[in-house]
Subunit: 243 residues, 2 copies
DNA sequence: ACCTGAACACCGTTCAAGT
DNA sequence: ACCTGAACACCGTTCAAGT
C-alpha cells in the first residue's frame, strides 16, 4: 500500500451507516429540530447535496436515526420471568433506549414506517401478548397502545431531564455553560410545578390540591406504575370475554 | 365616521387572537412543520417582524394554537352518566378536537407549558378520577398517563386520515389534486399494511399472522377500546391497595 | 408607543457539471 | 458511476429606523 496522493488525507469514506450515526449523534446534542441536512453533511465532511445519494429526504434520514436508537435493545429471555415480566422489561428497555437519544421519539409519532429494529421489538411485543393468552384482535390493539405508550414516555422522560437548550451559540465559558445546563436540567418540571402552584384555587381546586404529586416522583417509579396499569387493563375480567 | 384616508382599505387590525387563529388554520391546511412565521404573517397581512410584538417565538405561537384547538371541548355533565362514562367522554372529545387540527397534537408533546384550555380539561380529568375513589397519587400519575394517551391518539387518528401531503406546489388542476388527495388519504394505513404483509414469515411470524388485525378496524372502535383498557387498569384490584 | 423594512445567518432540495 | 458546487426558494429572529 504505497502512499497514493489523495484530495484529503485519511478522509473517511461516505456511507449510509456513517451518515445515520452522525445524525443520531447530532440529535443527542442538539435535538431533532436543530438537526439539519447541512449540519449532518458537515459532520461527515461533505456538502449537503451528497447526502441525497444515500437518502431521499430529511424525514427518511430521521427515521433511520430513530430505528438506530433502538438497535441495541435486547429482547428478554426465559431467565427474565413469565410473559408479563418480560413484556414489562421489554417496554422499559425500549423507553430507556429512546429516551437516551433526546427527543428522537418524536420521529416515531410523525407517521414514518417502522424500521427493522422497531419491527423486531414489535414482533416480540405481539408474541409475548399472545403468550399471555390475549385474543388476536386484542393483541393487535394492545401493541398499538403500548407503542404509543413507549414513544410518549420516552419523550416525556427525555424532556424531564433535558440538559440542552437550543444553545446554538456556544460563546459562554465552560463554568457558565455548565451552570446554564444545570439550570435547564430541572427547568421543565420546575416551571410546570410553579405554574400549577400559581393557579387560582377557585377555578383549579384539584390541580392545586394535587400539585405536589403532579410533578413529583422519579421517572422510573412512574414508568413502572404506568406499564403495570396498562397490562392490568388488558387482563381485566371484562376484556377476556369479548375484546 | 367620515372616510379617512388609510394606507390600506379595510385592513383588519392586528391582534393576538387573529394571529393564533390564522396559525391554527394554517396547521389544518399544511401541517405543523410547514407553518412558518412568514406564512402566518402573510395570512394576517403583515411582515414577519410584526408577529414578535405579540409572541416571543414560533414555539409560543404553536403552543397558543394548540391550546386554541381544545378551546371548544365541552366538559361532560351529570346527564352523561357516572364518573367513568364522563371520563371516557371527556377523553374522546379531547382526542377528537385535537385530531381535527392535523398534527397539532405534536406541540403538546414537545415540552410546552399547558395553556388555559388544556388546564381546564386537566382539572376536570383529575376531578373525575378523584370522584372515582382513586388515591391522590394514582390520580396524578393517571392524569399524566391519560394525557399521553390523548396526545398520541390524536396524532395517530390525524395521520390515519390525513388528506394532505406537503403539497406546497398547487400546480395541479382540481381533479388531479382531488385524486392525489384521495390516494394520500389511505396512504399511511395502506403502506403500513403492505409492509407488514411483505415481511418474511420466518423472522416476523406474529406480525404476519396478525397483519390483517394490525391496521384494521375503524378509529372510533379502537379508541373506545383503548381508553377502556386504561381505566380498567386503574381500577384493577391490586391497584386500590397501594398505588 | 407601536410597528416594520431590511438584513443576518441559516434552511431543504435540485441539477448541471465535474471526476 | 458517483459525487458536489452553486443556486433556488425558502426559514426564524433581530434591530435600527420610521410613524
Amino acid at each position: 500500500m504505497p502512499a497514493r496522493p489523495r484530495t484529503r488525507s485519511a478522509k473517511t469514506t461516505l456511507s449510509l451507516d456513517a451518515i445515520v450515526a452522525a445524525t443520531l449523534a447530532l440529535v443527542d446534542e442538539l435535538g431533532c429540530e436543530a438537526v439539519s441536512m447541512r449540519r449532518v453533511s458537515q459532520a461527515v465532511q461533505t456538502g449537503p447535496a451528497s447526502l441525497y445519494v444515500y437518502v431521499p429526504d430529511r424525514g427518511a434520514l430521521m427515521a433511520l436515526a430513530h430505528d438506530l436508537a433502538v438497535a441495541d435493545v435486547r429482547l428478554p429471555t426465559d431467565a427474565d420471568g413469565d410473559w408479563r415480566a418480560r413484556l414489562e422489561l421489554l417496554v422499559d428497555r425500549a423507553v430507556t433506549a429512546l429516551a437516551a437519544h433526546n427527543d428522537i421519539a418524536t420521529v416515531g409519532m410523525t407517521g414514518t414506517l417502522p424500521g427493522p429494529h422497531i419491527l423486531r421489538i414489535t414482533e416480540e411485543l405481539l408474541r409475548l401478548l399472545r403468550t399471555g393468552g390475549i385474543s388476536d384482535a386484542a393483541c393487535a390493539w394492545a401493541a398499538d397502545l403500548i407503542g404509543q405508550y413507549i414513544a410518549s414516555s420516552a419523550l416525556e422522560e427525555a424532556m424531564w431531564s433535558r440538559a440542552r437548550r437550543s444553545q446554538e451559540r456556544v460563546g459562554g465559558s465552560p463554568p457558565e455553560a455548565a451552570a446554564e445546563e444545570e439550570k435547564a436540567e430541572e427547568a421543565f418540571a420546575a416551571r410546570l410545578d410553579a405554574l400549577y402552584r400559581s393557579l387560582p384555587a377557585e377555578r383549579y381546586p384539584t390541580i392545586r390540591a394535587l400539585a405536589p404529586l403532579l410533578t413529583g416522583g422519579d421517572g422510573a417509579t412512574r414508568a413502572a406504575w404506568k406499564i403495570r396499569v396498562l397490562i392490568d387493563g388488558l387482563l381485566a375480567p371484562a376484556r377476556s370475554d369479548a375484546n
